[in-house]
Symmetry: C2
Subunit: 452 residues, 2 copies
Amino acid sequence: MANFQIDNEQIEEIRSLIEAQQNKKLQKKLNQFHYADIAEIIQELTNEEALFLVKLLDSTKTADALAELDEDIREGIIKQLSVKEIADEIEELDTDDAADLIAELPEARQEKVFNEISDEALAEDLRELLNYDENTAGGLMAKELVKVQEDLSVLKCVNAMRAQAENVTRVHSIYVVDSKNRLKGRLSLKDLITANSLALVKDISIPKVDFVTDDTEGEEVAKIMSKYDLEAIPVVNDKKELLGRITIDDIVDFIKEEAEEDYLLAAGVSADVEADDTIWDLSKARLPWLFLGLIGGLGSVFILQNFEEIMAQPQLRNLFFYTPLIAAMAGNVGVQSSAIIVQGLANDVVKGSLISRLMKEVGLSLINGLALSILLVLFGQTINQELIFSFTIAIAMTSVIIVAALVGTFVPIILDKNGVDPAIATGPFITTCNDIFGIYLFFYIAKIILQF
Amino acid sequence: MANFQIDNEQIEEIRSLIEAQQNKKLQKKLNQFHYADIAEIIQELTNEEALFLVKLLDSTKTADALAELDEDIREGIIKQLSVKEIADEIEELDTDDAADLIAELPEARQEKVFNEISDEALAEDLRELLNYDENTAGGLMAKELVKVQEDLSVLKCVNAMRAQAENVTRVHSIYVVDSKNRLKGRLSLKDLITANSLALVKDISIPKVDFVTDDTEGEEVAKIMSKYDLEAIPVVNDKKELLGRITIDDIVDFIKEEAEEDYLLAAGVSADVEADDTIWDLSKARLPWLFLGLIGGLGSVFILQNFEEIMAQPQLRNLFFYTPLIAAMAGNVGVQSSAIIVQGLANDVVKGSLISRLMKEVGLSLINGLALSILLVLFGQTINQELIFSFTIAIAMTSVIIVAALVGTFVPIILDKNGVDPAIATGPFITTCNDIFGIYLFFYIAKIILQF
């Protein structure tokens, strides 16, 4: 409905109902909510309150709500559920969500949960899914789908479909397989309805069907599904046997998570932390990048020591006042260049040779450097700086900008060519490199021009 | 099929077919491709080649391919099409894509295109869509949907649905409206099939249906659809009249574009540029942020001038060697803090009071500052720096880290509370502020301890 926001008032009402143990009222209240809202409510509660709620509600709704929760909150709740209770929740979930949930348990507990699952076929499906890396098509797929054998008559096909459709939340597509479960095509519901009931499935099936293999990377699956506007895609193994399917809602979550990781990585935060994580987790995610910055800063100390002599010369020592400016320019330009390249590589729009790409950055840097130089010289005039000194800084700064842009472009492209995620290059890594290069270059060029 | 990549060989083959004007062969070759692949091929061609291709292919496929193209490439092609040709393409498209395409034309041309559209109702729909901001539900929706009046019998309802479904690529949901077109509920296909054909639609309709109003922001629509795993959502006006619907594929594109914008913004690149844009466009997107950095750098010049006196003292002048380190730390920490907050605000996970949030950052900064200080003092020992000097730098640096973290946390929260997109704070803005604050604080604290 129109009211999508859980407000504090509602949370407070639920809390007081929990405290008063008014189970009937609580159930009535909570039944109004979508499971995604229940998940949002649970995030706001204490661990005990959440546990009370999970045990009170019927397991379909809690299972789905559990699947929506943040991992750390879910872990806290599941720890306190019995093996039997966990198995009950898992039987309610789609296999992809169920496998994710089991994967979070310690291995010994996983086995116990499997023993409690009465549906043998489900247990086998889940064991299969657990074998996949979570960032592959196999790790993203669910086993629930509707498939029919190509040799069936239309009449039998409809019956087979009905039986399967009961376990599948949204049908999307009906897949056609041969006797060895190999993907052969798909059925259009319209063709099925208008066909003669004695016709065979293979006569009316559409042989053209998009698919991915189980080892396809999640990022690639997301690209394919969004490029071709697919709402579901079947997953096959290398023998083309139909294993499962991935639906667009899981891909939406995947795209959002990937974007968040890249964003945080660019800001020098190792992925997988959130504002509400503990201080220790946050510190662990941030410290390595700061450590890198420290190493870079100490590198700059060494470089600047080499130019200590000019501190004795009042005309020249002002160069030192410009080090933060140069470091900022080198860092900013490098991050800009690398972000554009990283984004371009992700979207496959980085074309042409490396040389032409680098030449473009040189041109761009000259334009930006010139514009900034004009301002720099004007500033120099207002503080009565010698013109030769202002020009020297402007020339050195423009050189730094050019080199920084080249480094920012070159590094991600080279990383990408060597199979390393170029996203790691945007942010502290490029900034640190460029700080050191930039400051050295600045003093070196100033030395040449001013001949100290 | 499995081969989702357009390779250079295929592009070259198509190019030579265009050059040789082998129209039949070319058509046969291109008919194998999905329109999204045709779009990818067009991106690789020159403007003339692309135009040849667009005019050669049947308009359903080219229309969809045009809708998939990057805006600037599409503009180049459409400029060279006649008003009649554009109208033909538009009649093939879904209304949301058609409206986006028309919106890119100069106003005078828009009118001419409208005059060429023979379908009056379509023209009216498109005019309506053009009135919306592209980032609202109204700007994202398409007019195509299947709706039935609640007073119809099931029999009449099925006929009404069939007629509408022809124009709708994917049905998703059947919406129920009253005589004034107000959204009343939705129909389940299963209920419809099993119902008595004389029953009324309102007897079998499900009154609970999620919807958004036409002025809902795109970001909010994306949040709702991904939270509730919706594949389509109806859009209504303030009278609850059904206007259109938004499908998940458009939301996937929207989420990707938003994520890219935030990523580039954090890197100091105004959104909406790509690696393959012109030097001028790229320069325009980057220069303002560099200008901000320049202002910050010049601010640092002023601050450092105030500490010029210590250049004469060999024991103290080394402080200047640490300015890049301090600037780097202040910048990195600030960007980390702000990125985590910006991400948290977007996901609604920033809870608790501002004070407790800031205290957490202080704690975090103390841990990180301490860890880095140990390394800094060890480094000082290896270069035979006086211990008091090393400790001074460590204390000053830790203070800078704390302040930088506070600024990085405070600024986005305040921006968000005042309705400004906090994403603008991550990146050059925070870095520049923190550079200036950090350097001043560093020298000020050093001065207090070392009493120069």
